[in-house]
Homo-oligomer: 156 residues x 2
C-alpha cells in the first residue's frame, strides 16, 4: 500500500513579501550569479512596485505547499503588427534549485500560454540564452519555434 502525498501547487501574482525569494532564484543561476545584488536591496522592492502597478505586467510565482518555488514575468505587448494583435512576452523564468527536474517549468509555461490565449494574445514569445541548451529542448517540446535571433546591447 502506497502513501500519497498530495502537493498543493498554485500560480498567482507575486506579492511584495515574495520579492526576496524571487531575487534569490534569479541569482541562483550561472548567468544570474554575477549580476544580482542582496535580495533585500530596496531597488528590488521599487522595481516590484513599478511592475505591480502596470496592468500590462504580471509577475507570477509558483507556490508549492506554501513555499515559492518558481517565478516568471509576463508582459502583454501592444503593437500594430498583425492587425494590432497583442503578444505575451515571458521573461525571467526560474525554478528553485531544490524543485528542478519535477516538471514545474513545463507547468509554468503551459499555464502562461493558456493565460495568454484566454486573454486573446496572438503569440507568446521569449528569448533564451544560447548557453542554456537544456532550456532550448524544453521550449521545443512545448511547441515553440526557434525562429529568431535574440540580440542584446548592454548599456551599463
Amino acid at each position: 500500500m502506497e502513501s500519497h502525498y498530495v502537493l498543493s501547487l498554485i500560480f498567482r501574482r507575486a506579492r511584495k513579501e515574495d520579492v526576496p525569494a524571487i531575487v534569490a532564484m534569479l541569482a541562483d543561476d550561472h548567468l544570474g550569479a554575477g549580476r544580482e545584488g542582496d535580495p533585500g536591496d530596496e531597488r528590488y522592492l521599487a522595481a516590484f512596485e513599478h511592475i505591480d502597478a502596470n496592468p500590462r505586467d504580471e509577475l507570477i510565482v509558483a507556490e508549492q505547499d506554501g513555499k515559492v518555488v518558481g517565478t516568471m514575468q509576463l508582459t502583454y505587448l501592444a503593437g500594430l503588427s498583425r492587425l494590432g494583435a497583442e503578444r505575451c512576452q515571458i521573461e525571467a523564468v526560474r525554478v528553485a534549485a531544490a524543485t528542478r527536474g519535477q516538471g514545474l517549468g513545463g507547468k509554468m509555461i503551459t499555464w502562461a500560454v493558456d493565460r495568454a490565449r484566454a486573454r486573446g494574445c496572438a503569440m507568446v514569445q521569449l528569448t533564451s540564452d544560447r548557453s542554456r541548451p537544456e532550456a532550448h529542448r524544453f521550449y521545443d517540446t512545448l511547441g515553440f519555434t526557434a525562429s529568431h535571433v535574440g540580440y542584446k546591447l548592454n548599456l551599463g
Copy 2:
C-alpha cells in the same frame, strides 16, 4: 561643382494619421506580406490608441522631407533582474522600400539606443527573424550581441 540637397530627417512619436503609412511598411516585407490587412482597418487605429496611451510604449516614425520613411516601436520593460533595471525592447523596425540602402536603419537604431541610455535603461534588446541575414550583420555592426535564441509560439 556639386549641388547639395540637404534632406530634413526627424524622429518623432507617431501620430494617428501616420498609421496607414506605418502599416504599409509592415506589410511591404517578405514576412509581413502574408499577415497584415488593409492599412485603413480600424483595428490598426485601435491598436495605435492602445500604444499611444501607454507611457511605456513609444511608436516612432522617421520623417524625411515631410514623408514617413521608417518606423520602430520602443517598449520600456520593467523587471526585477539586475537590481530592477529597465530594458528597452525594439520591435517592428521597418524602412520604406524606396529609402533602403541609405543608412536610415542604422540612424534609427542608434537614436533608439541613445534614447534608452538617456532614460537610464540597462539594456536594449530585440529579436530578428533567422531569415534576415542582412539584418543580423546590421545589428552586429551596431554592437549588439547575438546571445539569445528567440522563441515564438503562434496562438492564432
